[in-house]
């Protein structure tokens, strides 16, 4: 018999006289079921004469093998073919019966929906959700301001230890990365623009460009983006995992206000730290640009500083960056803490919310930056 392979399942369709005979043999387990699926399809096509299912040569069987044999006999019976078993051991008989008892229809996947409708629905829901989220964020900002205002009457609401801790985490520990990135960006700015401006013999304007772009835009933007990525995400993850462990619920039952305990120290720390970090980033960026000017254009520090003074005759250029820092601190604090407090359910939610918090912060920072740039130009700063 050609169908027999070692360590495999096989099936033979034969027949003598008025009866067809299907004999099964070998190892009918999940490991070998793939071998006989096609042959079983053939067997199912039988019609007319009664069929004997001979299991004598089956060496081993598991539920999958039992299922295949059961299914064949079921399908034959449905076609009104008389079937009977032969050579079935008690063990196999039990298994086949068990499998038969569990032959029930089952849903495999959630119902599919019209993809165009789903797309429309997603767009609608997405729009609605972002509007709702914006209003929730504003509501949360209002809540923070209310609690903060109350702190004037009850100064003990401000937790000094926690505040200092967060100032260290958000500010001090961010110094290396903020400094390095600003320094490099300042240097690159000079390096690239010097090449372009040289075409017009206007290398001197490098200093103007550096001073204005770092002070007004780049210093604060780089700082805000780094802090959003570093600390905004940390806030969400910290508060989120406390939500999961029901620590926040425990706080409320003990009579602590989670806004006071968790949000205010982080929020205030950002308000303190962001302007300082911005100043520091400005210094680092200009230092980087100055050094690059010295190296590339042979502009001595004294000359650089003189040009710098001419480029920025007015301290307001510096204040533009620092004022933006306060706005961005609010954005990062509100977004980070709000998303943290919105964590619910599973650990997966912490990850989603953390991503959400960072993306949302950076998005709002850039939108706000554009609006403020227009505003400052309009008021002539």
């Amino acid at each position: 018999m050609a169908t027999i392979l070692d360590n495999s399942a096989w099936i033979e369709i034969g027949g003598r006289g008025p009866e067809k005979e299907i004999s099964f043999g070998g190892i009918w387990t999940v490991f070998h079921a793939g071998d006989v699926e096609d042959r079983l399809m053939e067997a199912v096509q039988l019609r007319g004469e009664p069929v004997v299912l001979d299991l004598e040569k089956v060496e081993r069987m598991d539920t999958l093998g039992a299922w295949l044999i059961y299914r064949l006999s079921r399908d034959l019976r449905l076609k009104r073919v008389d079937t009977r078993f032969r050579g079935v051991s008690d063990e196999y008989k039990l298994l086949i019966e068990r499998v038969g008892a569990n032959d029930r229809p089952c849903e495999m996947a959630p119902p599919r929906r019209n993809s165009i409708l789903t797309l429309l629905e997603d767009v609608g829901l997405g729009t609605l959700n972002s509007l709702v989220r914006l209003s929730e964020l504003l509501g949360f900002l209002g809540l923070i301001i209310t609690r903060l205002a109350g702190a004037f009457r009850q100064p003990q609401r401000i937790r000094v230890t926690s505040l200092v801790y967060h100032i260290e985490q958000v500010g001090l520990r961010a110094l290396p990365i903020v400094g390095l990135i600003s320094f490099l960006i300042g240097a690159v700015m000079v390096n690239q623009s010097a090449i372009q401006l040289r075409l017009y013999g206007a290398e001197v304007l490098v200093v103007d460009m550096l001073a204005i772009s770092i002070l007004r835009e780049l210093g604060i933007l780089l700082t805000a983006i780094i802090v959003a990525g570093r600390s905004g995400s940390a806030f969400t993850a910290q508060i989120g995992s406390m939500m999961l462990r029901e620590e926040v619920d425990a706080m409320e039952t003990i009579g602590l206000n989670p806004i006071d305990v968790l949000v205010l120290p982080r929020f205030l720390a950002l308000l303190v730290v962001m302007p300082l970090l911005t100043f520091y980033a400005d210094v680092a960026g200009i230092l980087g640009g100055g050094l690059m000017a010295w190296a590339q254009l042979d502009m001595s520090p004294a000359v650089f500083l003189q040009f710098f003074q001419e480029a920025v005759p007015d301290i307001r250029t510096f204040w533009v960056g620092v004022i933006k820092a306060v706005f961005f601190a609010v954005v990062i604090g509100v977004s980070g803490c709000f998303e943290g407090l919105s964590v619910s359910g599973s650990a997966e939610s912490v990850g989603q919310r953390t991503t959400q918090s960072v993306v949302q912060s950076i998005f709002l920072i850039i939108v706000l930056d554009a609006l403020l740039a227009i505003f400052f130009t309009a008021v002539g700063w």
Partner: protein, 262 residues
Amino acid sequence: MNQQSGNGHEIVIRVQNLVTRFDYTVIHDDLNLDVRKGEILGVVGGSGAGKSVLLKIIIGLLKPSSGTVEINGQAQAGLTSDELAAERRRWGVLFQDGALFSALTVAQNIQVPLREHFNLSQNLMDEIAALKISMVGLSPEAGAKYPSDLSGGMRKRAGLARALALDPALLLLDEPTAGLDPIGAADFDRLIVELKEALGLTVFLVTHDLDTLHAVCDRIAVLVDKRVIVVGTIADLLEYNHPWVEEYFKGPRARAANISVA
């Protein structure tokens, strides 16, 4: 290839002289344990006694510091990763909360091992998933649901269905009834016994639940003082003279579970 223990039982899992150390904390010190073919063996012990660690060592997720684990007479330490993967297809493991893949429906979860290891038609895999879902007592609608939409008890049943997908001869369960209400736990106990009878399984289970021990286990191994101090039926353990064992099997909760001292 199966080895025999002294009194003629075929041994499926044999743990010998197992020592486990995490840094300077010793979890297991010279631990020995045999699991016989066709039995349900329960492992009990206090919190932090190293029960779950023992299970993870048996299934090869953790490496012991010394000692050997043999499954069906095959020392696990000497296997290459391919051989170990082939071995693992012969066991089913149910983790504490089911450990279902959250991005897949229950039916798809059950089909993961089939899809990964065999070349079966989608139609047949769907039938197998339906069969397993029915066997573990889940309703037909459960197949299309995602794990997050299931209750704890249903998640465990679905996890069990996935563990049974490849028809393993050996089933390892980590706290199968933890977190279930008493009715759900009793149902699950019954399910384990039924499946063991129907499929001829050998079951290794770690538990805290005295009711489970009473209702399900053929033998119980007590993991105390970093080793298995005694293995036996509940009757044997009631006779055993050790403060922890006495406290455990004769305490108020044991009485409630009807493990009474006759």
